[in-house]
Each structure stands twice: as structure tokens, then as C-alpha cells.
């Protein structure tokens, strides 16, 4: 088991590298930079700032497009030079890109995600530091809702198969899958906050604030878990070893809890991996609806504001958590299913 974990952990790094590289390429390929949308800045100042962000690499310029190193060049003149020497310009850009990649990678490895493109006096790390715990709490609450409601509904549906409890559970589950969370959220706010005045509609200042967003985020997963639990349990209950357990005279409680659950839970545990991925994605919308200052919110704002460094960092941090979570899920799966362990 230890070796299995070790090998998996080792495998995380290449994947993270792939994610980092993909995001970086997207970032480099995107038109525009951190300074375009604002009031025009003197060319020299702009150049210095670009050098600071490693968007300019003097070594590369000197090597491939020395004309750029002329002091006092205006932005317009630069554009002219690049247009005239298109080929050399492309190589120079590639070279700069490589340097920037190396610089960012070395920073990332040290946990430094660089400065925010939009809020230039704030570092991305600050955002992550404040947003990550919030999103994690939200995710945790959502998972709790999903597991409690999902497992409960699924078990009841399986035990009372084909009776009204089964149909009701599965109908609700189907509804849960079909209603988008950005419809459910506002509706719940309308009912519980604005009409009934039981719960707060927005922000994140205490445990009451976690209920509506947590439930909204978790509802879809509760629905899937309910269906998987029911399916898994029904499948298991048909197995021969359940008949053996009954033939041994064990109480129905033991038959279900000790014999059936182990096998029945497997599809749910397997599902948790992709579910967590969806949870992160869902938090983007939920945090927006409920005005929660979490990473999902920062991400979408960053994407829309073209705050590339922040967006990139969120993607990478997200990937780290996802990979670790998947690893944990696989380990748990191995613990639950002894057949897997000895392969």
C-alpha cells in the first residue's frame, strides 16, 4: 500500500507540470497584457514594468531583435520594428516565453504565484490565502450535505424498493440532476431569505451563511450519490453472498450494514473523485450567486478581467487539490475492496 501511494504521489508532479504548461501557453497566446486596458503609460515605464514581469527578456532581445534595445523607442516604433522583422520577432517572443516559463515555474515551485496583473499592489498569494479556506469550507459543507442526503435517500430507496419511498427518492434525485444550481440558488434565496427570512442570502460570516450555498452546491451530488447508492445496493443485494449471509441466520441489520454496504458503497466512493472536480467548478457559480469571497469567485473575476496570473494560479492550486483528493479516493477504494489491493 505504501509503495502504491508513493508511486501515485510521484505521478502527481508530471500532471501538475502539464496543467501549468497548458495554462501558461494559454496565457502567452492570449492577446493583450496587464497594461492595455488602462490609461496610457509612457513607453519607458511600460518597458520597465514588462521587464519586471519577465514579459521582456533583454538577453533575448539582444540576441534576436537588437533594434528593440534602442533607448527612447516609442510603443509605435516598436510595433513598426516587429512588423518589419516578423520572423525574428517570433523567435524573440519564443525565447522570451521560455525564459518567462522558467521564471514562473521556479516561482511556483517555491509557492510564489507572482503579482496580480489587475491589482498590481497585491500578490496572487494574498488572494489565494484568503480565498482558499473559504472555498474549502464551502466544499466541505457541500460534501457533507451530499453524502448525508444522498446516502440516506439511496439506502431508503433500496430498502423500500418499488414502494413510494423509492419513487419519491428517485424522483427527487432526478429533479436534483435536472435543475441547474444557478436556478436552484436564487429560488432558495427567494424562499428562505427573502420570503421566510430564515437564512441570510449572501456572504460568509458565520455558520448560518453556509447552509444555503452548501446545500445548493451539494444538491446535484446528493442526487447522483442517491442514485448510485440505490443502484449499488440493489446490485449487491442480488449477490449470492447475501443469500449466504441470510442462510447463516444473521439479522437483516447485519446483512445490510456489514455485508451489503461494503460492496454497495464502491460506486459511490469511485464517484467522489469526479464529484470533487465538479464541486470546484460549481463553486464558481455558487460563490457568485451568494457573494462569497472564495477562489471560484476570484477565478471568474480574474478570467473576465484578464488577470492572467491570478487565473493561472487558481487553476494550478485547483489541480493540486483535485489530484490529492483523487489519490485519497483511490486509497480508500483500495481499503474497501480487498480484491484491488492484491493486483
Amino acid at each position: 500500500m505504501g509503495r502504491f501511494i508513493f508511486r501515485r504521489v510521484l505521478g502527481l508532479f508530471p500532471i501538475l507540470l502539464v496543467v501549468f504548461t497548458m495554462s501558461f501557453i494559454l496565457m502567452r497566446a492570449a492577446p493583450g497584457g496587464p497594461f492595455d486596458a488602462e490609461k496610457p503609460v509612457p513607453a519607458e515605464v511600460k518597458r520597465n514594468l514588462e521587464r519586471q514581469y519577465h514579459m521582456r527578456e533583454p538577453w533575448c532581445e539582444a540576441r534576436f531583435l537588437p533594434a528593440l534595445q534602442e533607448p527612447g523607442l516609442s510603443t509605435e516604433a516598436e510595433r513598426q520594428i516587429r512588423a518589419e522583422h516578423a520572423g525574428a520577432s517570433r523567435i524573440e517572443q519564443l525565447c522570451t516565453g521560455v525564459f518567462q516559463y522558467g521564471w514562473m515555474l521556479s516561482n511556483y515551485v517555491r509557492g510564489d504565484f507572482g503579482p496580480s496583473y489587475k491589482y498590481k499592489d497585491r500578490s496572487v498569494n494574498e488572494f489565494i490565502r484568503s480565498g482558499l479556506p473559504v472555498t474549502m469550507q464551502l466544499g466541505l459543507v457541500a460534501v457533507c450535505f451530499a453524502l448525508l442526503i444522498g446516502l440516506g435517500a439511496g439506502l431508503i430507496a433500496a430498502i423500500k424498493q418499488n414502494e413510494w419511498q423509492d419513487h419519491a427518492s428517485m424522483g427527487a434525485a432526478l429533479l436534483g440532476i435536472s435543475v441547474p444550481n444557478f436556478v436552484l440558488g436564487p429560488v432558495l434565496i427567494f424562499i428562505f431569505s427573502l420570503t421566510l427570512l430564515w437564512l441570510p442570502p449572501a456572504r460568509w460570516d458565520g455558520w448560518q451563511y453556509m447552509i444555503l450555498p452548501g446545500f445548493t452546491l451539494g444538491s446535484v451530488y446528493a442526487a447522483y450519490i442517491a442514485r448510485l447508492t440505490r443502484g449499488g445496493m440493489l446490485e449487491v443485494v442480488r449477490q449470492d453472498y447475501i443469500r449466504t449471509a441470510r442462510a447463516k441466520g444473521l439479522s437483516e441489520k447485519l446483512v445490510i450494514l456489514r455485508h451489503a454496504m461494503r460492496g454497495g458503497m464502491l460506486p459511490v466512493v469511485s464517484y467522489l473523485g469526479p464529484a470533487l472536480a465538479g464541486l470546484f467548478t460549481g463553486s464558481i457559480v455558487i460563490e457568485r450567486i451568494f457573494n462569497i469571497p472564495g477562489m471560484g469567485r476570484y477565478f471568474i473575476d480574474a478570467a473576465l478581467n484578464r488577470d492572467i496570473t491570478l487565473a493561472m494560479a487558481v487553476v494550478v492550486v485547483n489541480a493540486v487539490f483535485l489530484l490529492v483528493a483523487n489519490l485519497v479516493v483511490d486509497v480508500v477504494l483500495g481499503l474497501l475492496d480487498p480484491r484491488v489491493r492484491y493486483e
Binding site: Y241, T244, G249, L250, R339
Partner: protein
């Protein structure tokens, strides 16, 4: 009455199947004296396993339905006893061994857990004490190195070993009646003989009675005192093993025996298989269900199900022609 460990009278097990009724067991009566072995023989689908499930309360109702005159286990009618009482009896006084030990054992639990829970549930002893007894039983059934193997999972055992574990599991509470449902069908031929011998020895040791369900006449010979032959949910012939083998009365029994190669048969004797297929339990032929495949069928065979003719103590046949 009290020398019979099991006496079943007119047992029925029906299933509701997509609008039709499947009569898996259609009026079965069998009996077994204490300490003896009864072999229930028939093709697959003849209702032999379903009979035992019906007696033990293992038939899910719905979609099944179990009813009958009586199913007396040591005097107590299992058809009229509470669910709780049935559960107490199962695993404790009546134990069952199933056909395929790979699917019949829970792959997620250790052998130790699956053994000790029987003792914990029925005898109320602690897990530690149960473990000691389980180890002893594993040794008895011939599992080598039991202290190590007991903590393993079923898939780490070979087929024959798994069946031994099943046997150990069934015998932990020293049951009065052991039901072995095709205990050797899923095993290699070489292992079959070992397992059957093990069952015989343990049965004698514990003084238990045994019901051996099988489709293989080779298993019956030498292992059973009494035989009940089943076809399409009914018992068509009953008797001692000697009677059945030496003087089979029912054409089906005769057909079965003729289709099995025997060491003492003349070399040129041909095997004669029984033509046709077993009937669909939702659409049984009128009268005697075997008549569609019977070489001796007459008109009266289609008119009504044959009356059961008694030819002596425990010797019965249900046939118009025999």
C-alpha cells in the same frame, strides 16, 4: 415422527414472473430420518434448490410465494413459525452450503469475520472465543496454516479451499441438518471426491443429517442413503439409494441412469440421453410434465398428474405406467 429430522408435505414455491406464474416447486414431499443422508436429484430448473430455500425462508416474498401443508424440522413446522425463529434456526441448527464458493462468500470480508459472526450471532460468545473455535474448525476441514489463512480474503483461496471454508462456516454451530447445494459442481473432479469424503466424515462425527442436492448421479452413489428424484418441481420417485439404482421405476429415473456412464456396464452398451428439454415452469404440460419426453407415455399421462404410488416404507413413484 421423532426419528425424522425433516418431513416436508406438499410444499409449493411459486414466483410471479411478468404476468405468469412460475411453479418452481409444485407439491413436493420428502422426509429424512435422523443421521442419514438424502440426495435430491434432478436437472437444473427441477426445483431442488428452491425446495430448500422455501423451507428455510430464503425465498423473497414478493415475488415468490411459499405455502404447503407442513415443513417439519424436528417436529416444528417451519412454514408457520415466525421470521425471527427461522433466523435463529438458520446457521445454527440448519446450515446450508452453497454451490459456488467464489460468489457465495463475501469478497470484502475476511474469512475470520465471516466465520466468527455465525458464532457471535447464535452463541453470543465474544469475538476472541469465536476466533479460536473458527481456527479449530478450519483445521478440522483441512485448511493448512489456519492462523495465517483465517485473516485472508476469499479470493486468496483456491476453489477447493474455499469450499472447505464454506463447510467450516456451516458446521461451526454443530447443525442437526446440513444442506449441501451442489457442493462439488464448481470444483475440479479430483477435488470433488475429497470434499465429499470430508462431508461424510464430518457428518458422522457430528451425528448430523444431510441433504445433498445434485444433478450428478455419480455424487449420489456412495454418499446417500435415500434418494428423491425431482422433475419440473415435483418428486417423481423416492426410495433408498439401492432401490433407486438397482430398480428404478420412473421412466425419468431410468433415463437418468441410462445416460450416465458406469464402470460396471458392458463396453458396447450405448449411452442413451433423454431427448428434449425440461419444461418452462410457467407453462407446464397438462398431466405428467415428463410425458413430452417419455418413451412410455400413454394417453392417460396427459389427462391428469399421476397419483403417487406407495410401494413400501419411503418408496414412492408418481407415474401411470411404472
Amino acid at each position: 415422527m421423532s426419528e425424522l429430522i425433516l418431513e416436508v408435505k406438499d410444499l409449493h414455491v411459486h414466483y410471479a414472473v411478468e404476468g405468469a406464474v412460475s411453479k418452481a416447486v409444485d407439491g413436493v414431499s420428502i422426509s429424512l430420518p435422523k443421521g442419514k443422508t438424502l440426495a435430491v436429484v434432478g436437472e437444473s430448473g427441477s426445483g431442488k434448490s428452491q425446495t430448500m430455500y422455501g423451507i428455510l425462508g430464503l425465498v423473497p416474498q414478493p415475488p415468490g410465494k411459499v405455502f404447503g401443508e407442513a415443513a417439519l424440522f424436528d417436529g416444528e413446522d417451519l412454514l408457520r413459525v415466525s421470521e425471527k425463529k427461522l433466523r435463529q434456526l438458520r446457521g445454527d441448527r440448519i446450515a446450508m452450503i452453497f454451490q459456488d464458493p467464489m460468489t457465495a462468500l463475501n469478497p470484502f470480508l475476511t474469512v475470520e469475520r465471516q466465520l466468527t459472526e455465525v458464532l457471535e450471532s447464535h452463541k453470543g460468545i465474544s469475538r476472541k472465543a469465536a476466533r479460536a473455535e473458527a481456527l479449530e474448525m478450519l483445521r478440522r476441514v483441512g485448511i493448512p496454516d489456519p492462523e495465517r489463512r483465517i485473516d485472508q480474503h476469499p479470493h486468496q483461496f483456491s476453489g477447493g479451499m474455499r469450499q472447505r471454508v464454506m463447510i467450516a462456516m456451516a458446521l461451526l454451530c454443530r447443525p442437526a441438518l446440513l444442506v449441501a447445494d451442489e457442493p462439488t459442481t464448481a470444483l475440479d473432479v479430483t477435488i470433488q471426491a475429497q470434499i465429499l469424503e470430508l462431508l461424510r466424515n464430518l457428518q458422522t462425527e457430528l451425528g448430523s443429517s444431510m441433504i445433498l442436492i445434485t444433478h450428478d448421479l455419480g455424487v449420489v452413489a456412495g454418499n446417500a442413503d435415500y434418494v428423491a428424484v425431482m422433475y419440473a418441481g415435483r418428486v417423481v420417485e423416492r426410495g433408498t439409494a439401492d432401490q433407486i439404482f438397482e430398480a428404478p421405476l420412473h421412466p425419468y429415473t431410468q433415463g437418468l441412469l441410462a445416460s450416465v456412464p458406469r464402470l460396471d456396464a458392458a463396453q458396447k452398451e450405448q449411452l442413451v440421453p433423454i431427448p428434449g428439454q425440461p419444461p418452462d415452469p410457467t407453462q407446464l404440460p397438462s398431466g405428467c410434465p415428463f410425458r413430452t419426453r417419455c418413451s412410455k407415455a400413454e394417453d392417460r399421462c396427459a389427462a391428469a398428474y399421476p397419483e403417487v404410488r406407495r410401494l413400501g416404507e419411503g418408496r414412492e413413484v408418481a407415474c401411470w405406467v411404472a
